[in-house]
C-alpha cells in the first residue's frame, strides 16, 4: 500500500562491502576518507550519512521533527563528496543516506547488512549537556555492533 503524500524511499544497497565509512551527520574528514581507502585496499567501500530525525513526539507523526529539504541536500552533498574523493583514488564505492532517530543503531545495522569488516567513523565527541542527553554516537555504534566489525574512530586531531 502506498501512503498518499509520503515519499517512497529508494532501494538501499545491500551488497557486501569491506569498509563502511559512516558519519552521524557531519562532513567526512579527509583523514577518514583516506583511512577507509587504505583499509579497503581495492575492495568495495560503502558510504553512509545519517539524516537526523529529531525526537519521537510520543510516537505520533509530526512533520516538524522530520529533517528539512536543506538538511537532506547537505547530507547528499557530503555523501557525493566522499564518493567522488574515493572514486578518484580508484575505489569501488556506493553511498546511502539514512533518516533515523538513532544514528548509532542504524550505522551498526547497515554495517551488519553490508557485512563489513571495518567501520570508519569521524567522531566529534559531544560535551556537557549534549553528551548527557544524547550520549556518544560512537559508543552506541560500538554497543550495537557487538563485535561484528572493527570500529575505527578518527578524532578531530587526526
Amino acid at each position: 500500500m502506498v501512503l498518499l503524500g509520503r515519499n517512497r524511499w529508494d532501494k538501499q544497497p545491500t551488497s557486501q562491502a569491506a569498509v563502511l565509512l559512516a558519519s552521524p551527520g557531519s562532513p567526512f574528514s579527509r583523514a577518514a576518507v583516506r583511512r577507509a581507502r587504505e583499509l579497503a585496499d581495492g575492495q568495495p567501500v560503502a558510504v553512509l550519512s545519517i539524516l537526523k530525525i529529531y525526537g519521537s513526539s510520543f510516537g505520533l507523526p509530526n512533520p516538524g521533527l522530520m529533517p528539512t529539504r536543506r538538511e537532506r541536500d547537505e547530507q547528499l552533498e557530503n555523501v557525493k563528496l566522499a564518493i567522488s574523493e574515493l572514486e578518484r583514488r580508484g575505489c569501488t564505492v556506493d553511498g546511502q543516506i539514512a533518516a533515523t532517530r538513532s544514528a548509532g543503531r542504524t550505522i551498526a545495522k547497515v554495517a551488519r547488512t553490508r557485512k563489513v569488516s571495518y567501520v570508519v567513523m569521524d567522531t566529534q565527541p559531544a560535551t556537557g549537556i549534549r553528551r548527557l542527553i544524547e550520549g556518544e554516537v560512537a559508543n552506541n555504534v560500538r554497543r550495537w555492533l557487538r563485535g561484528a566489525a572493527v570500529l575505527e574512530l578518527i578524532g578531530d586531531k587526526t
Binding site: 557486501q16 569491506a18 583523514a31 583511512r35 587504505e38 583499509l39 585496499d41 575492495q43 568495495p44 557485512k115 563489513v116 569488516s117 567522531t123 565527541p125 553528551r131 548527557l132 550520549g135 556518544e136 560512537a138 559508543n139 560500538r142 554497543r143 555492533l145 557487538r146 563485535g147 561484528a148 566489525a149 572493527v150 570500529l151 575505527e152 574512530l153 578518527i154 578524532g155 578531530d156 586531531k157 587526526t158
Partner: protein, 169 residues
C-alpha cells in the same frame, strides 16, 4: 597462504600499534584484536599498563603493587610474542583521572599510528555523566583509535570477489 597475504595487505598500514592494558584477564579481547590487526615481521606492538596513583591525605599511594603492574605488562608481552609479534611493554604511572593523558603521552613518545583500547568499564549512563577514558583518548588522539568489543565478534564471511577468500591468485 592466501589468507596470510590478505592479512598482510590489510594491516600493512599499522606499523606501530599502542595497546593499553588494564588487567591481563580483562584485556584478552583487546590482545586478540591486536593479534588480528598486526602483521608478523612488520608491526611493532607496544603495550602500556597504567599504574594508578592517588592522593590520600598527605601522601600518594598506588592502587596496585609494582610487582602486580609488571606482571600485567609482562603477561601481555608474552602473549603477543607467542603470537609471533614484535612486542614490548611499559608500566607508566598515572594519576587517577589522568589515564587518558598518560596513554596519549605514551602514544606520542612511541610514535604510534594506531591506538587500541579495551572496552570501556563504565556503562552508558556512567559514561554520559562522568565521561570515560575512551572518550578522552578519542577526543585528543592524533592517530586513529580502535576500541575492542565487549563481546567477542562473529567472523564475517569474506568477499566473494576477494582472491584471497576464493583461493585463487
Amino acid at each position: 597462504m592466501a589468507g596470510k597475504a590478505l592479512k598482510a595487505r590489510v594491516s600493512m598500514m599499522f606499523a606501530r600499534i599502542l595497546v593499553a592494558i588494564d588487567d591481563f584477564g580483562g584485556s584478552q579481547a583487546t590482545l586478540d584484536l591486536v593479534k588480528g590487526l598486526a602483521t608478523e615481521g612488520t608491526t611493532q606492538v607496544h603495550a602500556v599498563h597504567c599504574r594508578l596513583r592517588e592522593l590520600s591525605g598527605y601522601s600518594w599511594y598506588a592502587r596496585e603493587s609494582r610487582g602486580d603492574a609488571s606482571f600485567q605488562a609482562e603477561a601481555a608481552v608474552f602473549d603477543l610474542r607467542m603470537a609471533g609479534l614484535a612486542a614490548g611493554a611499559e608500566v607508566r604511572y598515572a594519576i587517577v583521572d589522568r589515564v587518558a593523558e598518560a596513554i596519549l603521552a605514551e602514544a606520542l613518545e612511541y610514535g604510534a599510528d594506531l591506538i587500541v583500547l579495551g572496552p570501556p568499564r563504565r556503562r552508558e549512563l556512567a559514561a554520559r555523566l562522568f565521561g570515560s577514558v575512551t572518550q578522552r583518548v578519542v577526543q585528543r588522539a592524533k592517530c586513529p583509535v580502535i576500541i575492542a568489543p565487549r563481546a567477542p565478534g562473529r567472523p564475517q564471511p569474506r568477499l566473494a570477489s576477494d582472491p584471497a577468500a576464493t583461493g585463487c591468485s
